[in-house]
Symmetry: C2
């Protein structure tokens, strides 16, 4: 049993939108295939992965450091004890050989992308959905296939206007979402409040709005927004300040009593632990958004879950960033609180297998071996092209 090849292609996910921090016109992602010599149904089993939006593709780091380490590894260093499957933890250790501690960015994306493909591969070899494998190995053995999802949108785009914004949100409600998210901080506070109120007017009694500042605010601005936002019953107030300014988050939580969400720009268990240690996050109401595809993959995410348990946090407080099926599988297998979803953006990478419907902001995951990419035809056609 061996890895025969690791293929990477850097793809554009350029788009006309921007959030408070970046515009997406030059954004890229890495699409990865990890090819094995294990034969199922007459064909070698291949696992696929990609990184989520917001950080760039990492083709060169993959080719320079992580791919060669895996391809040069001895079989005993990447295969489990019984020799029945690859061992993602061993493979992770191989990838991280000769990497110094600290400095968790970029390479965390490269490793996270390959790690996703490895988990897709091993659950296909086990001939089970990944959520089933995870529930059996690390959970209570029964996955919960009903997963909460919310619609992330409400970016700023040219010539949008309030009508353009509410038309977009209305579309999400019509798709079956009852929680929708919009960006803040790309306009003045007063203009942002107008945008928020325009949306609140079209929400039904069971719908809720979340807002996302993408880490843009200093403490003063974060508190000003916090005070203004306290008038609304928001689902959450996301990433108010710099992701590493734990003091800002702690101080803000003294002024904003609603839920705060953050963590998408913390890419290691060490950084996640510092958030829990120092940021005054409240385990009964706040949300953790660590995204395995950007942060060394599920092997690291399992360490984050262990860490959270030590600090008495429940995994149901985790709703990852990124909107990919990998986090859906983790949510179903390990009892996360749900997953982000971008109904309009970053396609065909995000989203659900074909035919999956959103109802009251929940979906039910179908039974597809692996992560489920084969069930999403627009995505899988691109993946397949890479390996055919």
């Amino acid at each position: 049993m061996k890895i025969t090849n690791i293929i990477e292609e850097t793809k554009s996910i350029s788009s006309n939108i921007k959030n408070a921090y970046i515009d997406f016109s030059k954004m890229t992602i890495s699409l990865v295939a990890v090819c094995s010599d294990v034969i199922k149904n007459g064909k070698p089993v291949i696992g696929y992965g990609f990184n989520s939006n917001g950080r760039y593709g990492q083709g060169h780091l993959i080719r320079e450091r992580f791919r060669p380490r895996l391809l040069e590894a001895l079989p005993k260093d990447i295969i489990n004890e019984d020799g029945t499957n690859f061992d993602p933890h061993k493979m992770w250790n191989i990838m991280m050989k000769n990497e110094k501690p600290g400095g968790h960015g970029e390479r965390s994306v490269a490793v996270g992308t390959i790690d996703m493909a490895i988990w897709d591969l091993i659950s296909k070899i086990e001939e089970k959905p990944l959520y089933q494998v995870l529930a059996e190995r690390y959970g209570n053995s029964i996955p919960n296939r009903n997963v909460f999802v919310y619609a992330a949108g409400g970016y700023y785009w040219p010539d949008q206007g309030l009508q353009g914004l509410t038309d977009e949100i209305k579309k999400y409600l019509d798709l079956g979402y009852s929680v929708v998210k919009k960006k803040i901080g790309g306009a003045s506070l007063s203009e942002d409040l107008k945008r928020i109120e325009a949306i609140l007017k079209i929400l039904g009694p069971n719908d809720q709005l979340a807002v996302d500042a993408n880490g843009r605010f200093d403490l003063e601005t974060a508190i000003s927004y916090g005070k203004a936002l306290s008038d609304y019953n928001l689902f959450w107030y996301e990433e108010p300040g710099d992701p590493l300014d734990f003091e800002l988050h702690k101080e803000l939580s003294q002024h904003y009593l609603g839920s705060i969400a953050t963590g998408e720009n913390l890419f290691s268990v060490q950084d996640a632990r510092n958030l829990i240690r120092y940021a005054g996050m409240r385990k009964e109401k706040d949300w953790l958004q660590f995204d395995c595809a950007l942060s060394y993959g599920l092997v690291e995410y399992l360490k984050i879950i262990e860490m959270l348990k030590k600090y008495d946090w429940d995994t149901s407080r985790c709703i990852p960033h990124g909107g990919h099926q990998m986090s859906l599988a983790i949510a179903a297998g390990l009892g996360l609180g749900g997953n982000e979803s971008y109904p309009d953006l970053f396609q065909p990478y995000g989203g659900f297998p074909d035919g999956v419907k959103v109802e009251n902001s929940y979906i039910k995951l179908p039974e597809i071996n692996g992560i489920g990419f084969e069930g999403k035809s627009d995505l899988f056609s691109i993946m397949k092209m890479m390996t055919d």
Copy 2:
């Protein structure tokens, strides 16, 4: 006035050594030239830079993201108000456009490397040594050209033995160093203590030893070492635990009363600030080792200095990692406590201009425009090859 080209070459700095975390057999660095159309002595002025050891070269990130942004920038966005020189702060902002907050690794090296070349360029355009430019712009206008340096070595290498180790250290003492550093944590505690005691026997009454664990220890091991090391009067105990485990550092400082040094694996002002906020570092005895070449360059380092001042830390507590002339210039210009030096390693990149002698662990910087690379013939011959 414009930037005509940015050239990068990835170079091997492979070597037979290892520290507690990595071996250097596949280590690379990026060498960068930033070329301008400013003519001095009949030739276009060129600035050079490179990243220091321990993190990998970043040629691809430079070529994919940071080089094109600088080359596509409008002149007004990279030149100072009077139009007399490039503006490194503006250039930094251009490089960091469309980069999300958090995730400070790899790209921090790419930007730090280019930033070094930019400061070399602007001080050559000003026809002054960089330390003079820095003292005038950000310091008390008079540089202190006498800079403390210590010899970093004492790595583990095959067939070394105590004799090989003490021979190496003796060479550093003979070169004029009175502070020398060895690695710990690559052997058992008892073996490490034997190595330390072998060195202490050959040190003179005014010499001191520092030890460096390269972030390897968990809390228990860090404390065990700390207790054992308390018997010696060490210069410092460096990077005992994971660079982001501030709680470990804080707890250790309750058990180890000697000086602790850390910071080489924190690559942003946000991470540096968290060290100051949370790690229990003692401003009267501990040392900060942030290395601009790995952490977004001097523009970011100036922000770190501002941050330190807010927390009432003196810049004399900073002795950067890396052993490059850029940190020597910053030390002389802005009053840092000194700089690392690798007499035997990572050549020709580290070290001093030709003819500079170490006396009692101090050197005197010569008057060379820019960072001083032109004064180091083995290094400059490589740089020149890249641009000729």
